[in-house]
Amino acid sequence: MGMPYKMAVILDKARLERIKGTQLEGLVKDLYGGYLKVLELDVPDDVAQRILKEFPRARIDARGFIEETPVVFKRELFEVIAQLRSVGREVFEELLKPERLSRIKELAAKEEEYLPPPPLLEKEK
């Protein structure tokens, strides 16, 4: 058995709204005093190795979380979670299906060139 890895999906207001009333709502974790809400997923070793292979910049951080995956990967991960209403292994099975994966990789390549900066910050307005 390999080391158990994890992934976290950050939940902003819109994402929290999407999972409201589902079983996922009970799985939401508070981070840093409740300033951040996340859903955590266990990532089996074989899936973790696959993700690291498909996305060369992805890495496992000091906490054992897979991080630095493309933004589009995280976005799609949330979509699949919301669709399947699960944080189980099947989420990754769906996410890594060839067609979906190739679309993610295509968008991820563009993302390495440009990421839209956030809109004007509150204090700058």
């Binding site: 976290a8 300033y35 000091a62 995280k74 060139e113 990421l115 204090k123």
Partner: protein
């Protein structure tokens, strides 16, 4: 014996100053020398510029690497690889090599005893007095520089490969080297924002004295600071002598970095924002930089950091977990092992301060800070016992958050620091180092070379 701690001497006893400030002398020194335009080291994997030797020339000539005043000969590199010492015995962790494509060397036709004029951005920049022309196997050099799990099992956990940015720098060198003394003959002009962070060792020592600081703790950075870094700085700085350290000297490593690290401008201004907005009093804080294409060599990098910051006049140096590391090649505490008991397999049987011709700077080994929901505060990992609920800081997690366009909460990231990231994100269309940034950085560099006329051959 007094318990008070004072500024240590430079490593090797004297700061190197190989900058020729007298224009006439500079022209005279360079006249008649063959000219060569400095080229970047490009990755053998994808061709990206991952190093520009001009940064090493600057760091040698302005004394950051004192007592090193030259590019190393074969013998000196062997000495460094065997016991991390220069030929005169002073500790030094990395081979510093001026490599050149074989074809360029043939065209130049220079040999031992000749002088080479090095141009930067088309202008005269430095001269190199060629003492030796030598060859090496870049892969072998890369392996021996960083160590292997077989030979250095005390700290190396995994074989180095192309994914390690420092190993890749050595692996991508040409295999032909010119060794010898180097002098900057035409001082480059730093661009904004770099210029205000440029404190070479002599100037840094003056500035420390001007501020009346007796004890100064150095903080190494290649990051925009999150509050975990801030707590590390503030708490490590409690250690001084009879009172907390008077100053915190942040020294950012500026140069080509690995894809995904923050851009240099944001690193400098992000740290600057901490004192600009009062999170650390400006009376106690200074942000500086060193030009160096980071090797991410964890314990070895920490030895270089100790040398640089001792030369800059610091009395202490803080070292955290995963110091200057990337990936899991080294033990996460390899740096602290070095500064606690040494790493015999690297030829360092005792910590650097207990070795002859070692360092005088005092290490402050710190573990980590985390957020504890039970304590309701950011706590030190050896103090807070709520390990089951503690939430560790992760730079990767924060970078992911930022990439998704989510402003990190103030408890982990100061809003003013985040604004600095967004400022440079707008400039480059990307918040982190990507291939486009590396190319742009290589083209622009941190400096401009002033115009200078020199009668040359080539």
């Amino acid at each position: 014996m007094s318990l008070k701690v004072y500024m240590p001497p430079p490593h090797g006893g004297k700061l190197v100053d190989a900058v020729i400030r007298d224009k006439d002398k500079a022209v005279e020194m360079a006249a008649g020398a063959m000219a060569y335009d400095i080229k970047p080291t490009r990755s053998i994997v994808d061709g990206s510029p991952i190093r520009n030797v001009y940064r090493e020339i600057m760091s040698i000539a302005y004394g950051f690497f004192s007592p090193l005043d030259r590019f190393m000969t074969r013998n000196e590199v062997e000495s460094v690889l065997k016991e991390r010492r220069l030929l005169d015995g002073w500790l030094f962790p990395f081979p510093i090599i001026f490599d050149i494509p074989e074809e360029d060397l043939r065209k130049l036709g220079v040999k031992e005893g000749d002088r080479l004029l090095l141009r930067l951005k088309g202008q005269p920049f430095a001269i190199l007095d060629i003492e030796e022309v030598w060859k090496f196997d870049p892969k072998d050099l890369a392996d021996r520089t960083f160590g292997t799990p077989e030979k250095n099992s005390d700290v190396v956990k995994r074989r180095f490969d192309e994914k390690h940015p420092g190993w890749l720098i050595y692996r991508s060198m040409t295999g032909t080297a010119l060794a010898g003394k180097v002098y900057v003959i035409n001082e480059p002009i730093f661009k904004d924002p770099y210029t205000r962070f440029w404190y070479p060792p002599a100037k840094s020592r003056e500035e420390i004295q001007r501020r009346g600081w007796r004890t100064v703790i150095a903080h190494q950075t290649r990051n925009v600071p999150h509050t975990g870094h801030e707590h590390l700085m503030k708490n490590a700085a409690y250690l001084g002598d009879i009172e907390p350290a008077h100053g915190i000297l942040v020294n950012a490593i500026i140069g080509a970095k690995r894809l995904g690290d923050f851009v240099d401008e944001a690193i400098l201004e992000g740290h600057e924002a901490l004192s600009k907005y009062g999170y650390i009093s400006p009376k106690r804080h200074i942000v500086t930089m060193t030009l160096w294409d980071m090797r991410y060599g964890n314990p070895l990098e920490s030895l270089l950091h100790g040398i640089i910051r001792q030369n800059m006049g610091c009395t202490h140096h803080m070292f955290g977990r995963d110091h200057a590391a990337v990936g899991d090649y080294y033990d996460p505490y390899a740096t602290q092992i070095l500064w606690d008991k040494g790493i015999p397999s690297f030829g360092l049987p005792a910590p650097p301060y207990d070795l002859d011709k070692g360092l005088k700077i005092r290490p402050v080994n710190i573990k980590e800070f985390w957020y504890c929901p039970k304590c309701g505060e950011i706590a030190y990992s050896d103090t807070c016992a709520h390990t089951d609920v503690a939430q560790r800081f992760s730079g990767s997690f924060i970078r992911g958050l930022i990439a998704e366009g989510i402003e990190p909460p103030p408890i982990i990231f100061r809003p003013e620091v985040y604004r600095v990231i967004v400022k440079w994100w707008r400039v480059y269309g990307y918040p982190f180092v990507n291939k486009k940034y590396l190319e742009l950085k290589e083209r622009e560099l941190e400096v401009d070379a002033p115009k200078m006329e020199i009668p040359i051959k080539g």
